[in-house]
Symmetry: C2
Subunit: 436 residues, 2 copies
């Protein structure tokens, strides 16, 4: 398929798992891509740290350079694709590119979540496109719908499983009854977890994605620092068993919610933590290393987007989609919808976020225990939804699920319970989501 | 939020369930919409058949007109929104609008599926935008991802539950063991089925949507006439019970698949029929009147989009998203990606589509029956995956699930089985999807 139009010229920063897949797809799909864009794409350079490293032999070695900044400064580059990750030097390269009016396609969630403002400001200054579909939930077309489809609607809540590693671990704990350590070992063996899994299991990766999702959903700048974060290393086999008894499973969720704070101000709460969700919830069935994002909007109602959240090829698919969009815009002399942050909503601290707790207590099996325990909840104005009591010899277990209450009240309730004589131990505390 | 830019002016054709919700959302969200677009939206006219009918009192009666063609011809109209449905006069109005360079937002699946080409050609002639997110799967942002996100990828298959009425009926049959008639009655009572449910239960509605999805997924013009269609009125309580025994459920699926036909030509198969799918498949859990579309692409892998497929408010949400996109394009002097039909793939007839059958036979319990039956399959080169035989007195039931084979071979096998003396009756024949 020939084209009269001159090629759109691409510079690639990084050639690891995702980058080499981008190169492969650009090559394999070149005929389709030319048809869809109306002009061919031409890769003019690939910045890497070690050009001598063994790579796919199909790549012309003359394309490699170690001078990334020099590459993005070239006058003949139209679109810069960044798949290196990390804050610096990626930020300098992309800021330079955008200010010079070059379109940027990036998968760099850490940079977007920590300092997206700098990139968006540079894009506005240079009148350039900034696309980052691959930064959240890999191959799932999610950011474009949030950016471009739901903008006649008002999103009230986004609940996502956005980290494949932890979803694999929790799905495995759910299926086999394994503990966290055992399930993590399995994930590591199968290549789903990195040697140092901290970013995944402590929720840092999910928190970065939560910040990006919340920014788009609520037209408000949200950074990773605004996100309440609690990892899932504390989830035990006993917690999972308890969840099962309640007809629930446990997922590491990112939750971004719009609502009023205690003073009645329209505001945004963004948090990442493990939570019980009912098995009937569409997110409960998202197994393996899949990702899914559940969106609630005033008019659209409930939506869910599901797919592969990671991996070289799925992520490269999202990058390619963005490249085509950026290339089409350049040819037609237009721009994508730019950053939308007009709402400027304040961030609500976790203490003011309304959550529900599942609390499992080992208590002395004495008369009046339930009354004492219930009194602590009442003192903090936390309403109890259900209590299950099961005795064994001198001890009993109380499993209490609350109604929604400010997280600070729930936390204070747990603190007070801990100091009661009749409470031998607090076996588990988990938030509950997705219920009525 | 004020804007220096002049308003983008809208004409609305139709003011029923969806239209009145569009008007309400335009009014309620006007501040947000202005912020997102960069200019206000102004509704300048609403074409209806009976302007005197009782409507939402918030609508200025001066906006109503019975002269739809006159309205779309007005020079001061920028975007025409059509929520009337049907082929004519909608086609004339929209063709007129597009040729004159006015952007069109339509929810008219019947028109797009029967004669989308006329609309796309008119859009090309007038250099105008044609958006129709609401035409398939209501509120779910699905067409935009197919049009704009996956275009760096190659879609191989789209499997959808795109009709809420039949999904409600089948979900109810699955949950309660009810027969089709009983479940249909329930759907009618609850307002999920229309008084005349033919378009839904016979698969016409799903076939129209299948044509639109296939056109977008495969860059090929596909019309409703190209879609093999089989309704779900023949699905019995016994079929559902049989599906359950196999760990499956039954859904009315629309399936669009790209692959090679018997001559090795890259081609497209599009069909709508009830099918068994394993409970482990993400589509199996789509209950109630929800819609979901499962997309398989070479690079992206498996994706699913889930949400409300119908209803005034969800559909209006999709319409609003399109209005914003069209308005933004007008302000920036650009166009959306236009129709992409460069692939021109031929349509494969159902006989050449590879499917799998589940066949339940009542046979005489005699020696050699299985050998005879298996011989019929072998004669038509259909490979058997599993056989379950259960005897009762003189009769036995054989439940046979095949491997994939051309549908014509499977149909011929069933025809031959019917003529065997030892086959008393063929209790059910259902296609099987989503398996290995």
């Amino acid at each position: 398929m020939s084209s009269e139009k001159p090629a759109v010229r691409l510079a690639l920063l990084g050639c690891g798992t995702v980058g080499s897949e981008v190169v492969r797809l650009l090559h394999e799909q070149s005929e389709d891509l030319t048809a869809r864009i109306g002009a061919p794409l031409e890769l003019v350079g690939i910045a890497v740290r070690r050009p001598g490293r063994q790579r796919d032999s199909d790549i012309d070695p003359a394309l490699f350079t170690t001078d990334a900044l020099g590459l993005v400064k070239r006058d003949d580059v139209d679109v810069v694709i960044e798949v290196v990750g990390g804050i610096e030097p990626a930020r300098s390269w992309l800021t330079e590119s955008l200010k010079a009016g070059k379109s940027v396609v990036t998968a760099n969630k850490a940079l977007l979540a920590e300092d997206g403002a700098t990139l968006h400001d540079a894009a506005a200054e240079g009148g350039a496109d900034l696309y980052y579909e691959a930064a959240v939930a890999g191959a799932i077309p999610l950011l474009r719908p949030l950016r471009e489809s739901l903008h006649g609607d008002r999103v009230t809540r986004v609940t996502g499983i956005v980290n494949g590693t932890t979803n694999f671990i929790l799905s495995s704990m759910d299926a086999t009854g394994a503990g966290f350590g055992e399930a993590l070992d399995e994930a590591t063996e199968l290549g789903y977890a990195e040697a140092d899994p901290t970013a995944d299991v402590e929720g840092f990766d999910a928190a970065a994605k939560a910040a990006i999702l919340a920014s788009l959903a609520f037209h408000t700048r949200v950074t990773a620092a605004d996100v309440f974060r609690e990892g899932m290393t504390g989830v035990t086999a006993a917690d999972m068993a308890s969840a099962k008894e309640m007809g629930c499973t446990i997922k590491l969720l990112c939750i971004a919610q719009r609502g009023e704070d205690s003073a009645g101000t329209d505001s945004v709460s963004v948090r990442v933590h493990p939570a019980m969700i009912p098995r009937s919830h569409p997110l409960a069935g998202v197994g393996d290393a899949f990702n899914a994002v559940f969106v609630e909007a005033e008019a659209a109602g409930q939506l869910m987007f599901y797919g592969r959240g990671a991996g070289g090829t799925p992520t490269a698919s999202a990058v390619l989609g963005d490249i085509v969009a950026a290339a089409r815009n350049r040819l037609s002399g237009t721009r994508a919808p730019s950053e939308s942050s007009y709402a400027h909503l304040p961030i609500r601290p976790i203490g003011e976020s309304v959550t529900r707790y599942h609390i499992s207590l080992d208590v002395a099996d004495r008369q009046g225990v339930l009354a004492t325990v219930a009194g602590v909840f009442a003192k903090h104005e936390v309403s109890i939804a259900t209590v299950r009591q099961s005795g064994r010899d001198e001890d009993a277990t109380l499993v209490i699920v609350t109604h929604g209450a400010p997280d600070a009240n729930l936390a204070a309730t747990v603190e007070d319970l801990r100091s009661l004589d009749i409470v031998r131990s607090i076996a588990s505390v988990l938030r509950v989501e997705g219920g009525a």
